[in-house]
């Protein structure tokens, strides 16, 4: 990657230098914040995965107990009650409610199980015999479902956190490996261009000063030359006019004054 390609397209001016510096500062702040967020989320994530592992094992045990109590029911009732139960299921007594939990700006939903009062679809189940077993079985299964609901919320949190952590890490990496180097390159570029401009300006000023000095010197020399020429001319004139002085007095004075005016 050449340095020309890996910078932003800006004009190298002091204003954009200021902008870039602000941007770099912003990127660094954002990077550290996001990094911290990612760490907080990862910590939470590890905790959740550990709890999922535990909950899954617990679920295995709970379901086993529940199956056993169902077997008891089957034995006590003396037949398969599956069909009867499937037909009499009408309205859910066991429902779930979703609530939210905020972890570093990520909303994690959690399920909460609750039982609605008053409707019992299975009032007739086990009426003839085995009613006690049926009751016990229902309680066991209700506990099992509660465990399952807890596991489900953990799992939901797991899926969402997994997604969020990926996004946050992607952002952290993008800032660290793309945005910050690019901004730094841009700043470097602008600085070098500005230095270049400074040097050019300095050189130009030096050139101008040199030229001025040369011009002044030349014009000085010229003036001096002129002055000397005039002085020499005047001297020559005076020498030529000297013999005439005796002839015309008034005219002489005027002429002499004229001469002096011409010279100076």
């Amino acid at each position: 990657m050449s340095s020309a390609a890996d910078r932003e397209a800006v004009f190298p001016t002091r204003q954009s230098l200021g902008l870039m510096k602000a941007k770099l500062k912003g990127a660094e702040t954002g990077h550290s914040l996001l990094k911290r967020k990612s760490e907080a989320l990862t910590k939470r994530f590890r905790e959740i995965t550990r709890r999922i592992d535990e909950a899954k094992r617990k679920m295995g045990r709970v379901m086993q107990i529940a199956s056993l109590s169902l077997a008891e029911v089957t034995y006590a009732v003396g037949g398969n009650i599956g069909y009867q139960i499937q037909e009499s299921a009408k309205s859910a007594r066991f429902r779930i409610r979703a609530k939210q939990e905020n972890v570093s700006g990520v909303l994690l939903p959690a399920f909460e199980a609750y039982q609605t009062e008053g409707n019992n679809d299975f009032a007739m189940t086990g009426l003839g015999k085995g009613g006690q077993q049926v009751q016990r079985c229902r309680e066991t299964y209700a506990r099992a479902v509660e465990a399952l609901v807890e596991l489900a919320s953990l799992q939901t949190a797991f899926v969402i956190l997994d997604e969020v952590i990926k996004v946050v890490n992607r952002r952290v990496n993008a800032i660290e490996h793309v945005i910050i180097p690019r901004t730094e390159n841009t700043i470097k570029y602008i600085n070098s261009e500005l230095d270049e401009l400074d040097r050019e300006e300095f050189y130009r000023l030096k050139k101008v000063a040199n030229k001025k000095q040369r011009d002044t010197a030349a014009s000085d020399a010229e003036m001096k030359q002129k002055r000397e020429d005039k002085a020499a001319l005047a001297l020559l004139d005076q020498e030529n006019q000297a013999p005439e002085e005796e002839d015309v007095g008034g005219g002489d004075i005027l002429a002499g004054e004229d001469d002096e005016d011409v010279i100076f």
């Binding site: 995965t49 999922i52 592992d53 899954k56 094992r57 679920m59 295995g60 379901m63 086993q64 529940a66 199956s67 169902l70 077997a71 029911v73 398969n80 009650i81 599956g82 139960i85 499937q86 299921a89 009408k90 309205s91 859910a92 007594r93 066991f94 429902r95 779930i96 409610r97 979703a98 939210q100 909303l107 939903p109 399920f111 039982q115 679809d121 299975f122 189940t125 049926v134 079985c137 229902r138 299964y141 209700a142 099992a144 479902v145 399952l148 609901v149 596991l151 489900a152 919320s153 799992q155 939901t156 797991f158 899926v159 969402i160 997994d162 997604e163």
Partner: protein, 122 residues
């Protein structure tokens, strides 16, 4: 994700063998919607049920119905439609693989647990 999207989700759904479904229905999760197009939130699967029917039920519980928050599915049934379960990555509704009486629970097959293990490099 809007709050509304999962505030309505208040039921559990089951895809399982007869015993699992019976037990969970006894706990009181069974729900049948009102008369015109009454839909059950459970599906009993046995050896005669073909995979297309399971897939259809899974599809219905995950995508079509907006009132289901958790889907419980027996692991040996999830195995039969493993590609569908594995490619399901949405957070809502949650798919939970549960053990059944005849098939002990195997953490290695669970799609979420496999992700857990992969993340920790085990």
């Amino acid at each position: 994700m809007s709050t509304q999207e999962y505030k309505d989700r208040q039921f559990l759904a089951v895809i399982g063998d007869e015993d699992s479904v019976t037990g969970l229905l006894l706990a009181g999760i069974g729900h049948v919607t009102a008369a015109p197009d009454s839909q059950k939130n459970f599906l009993v699967v046995d050896n005669k049920t073909d995979n297309a029917a399971i897939e259809a039920a899974f599809e219905r519980f995950t995508n079509e119905r907006k009132d289901i928050g958790i889907i419980l599915i027996n692991q040996h049934i999830a195995d039969r439609i493993r590609h569908v379960v594995d490619s399901y990555v949405k957070a809502f509704p949650t798919v939970l693989e549960i053990p059944s009486k005849d098939h002990p629970y195997d953490p290695e097959k669970d799609s979420v647990l496999r992700r857990v293990r992969r993340l920790f490099g085990e």
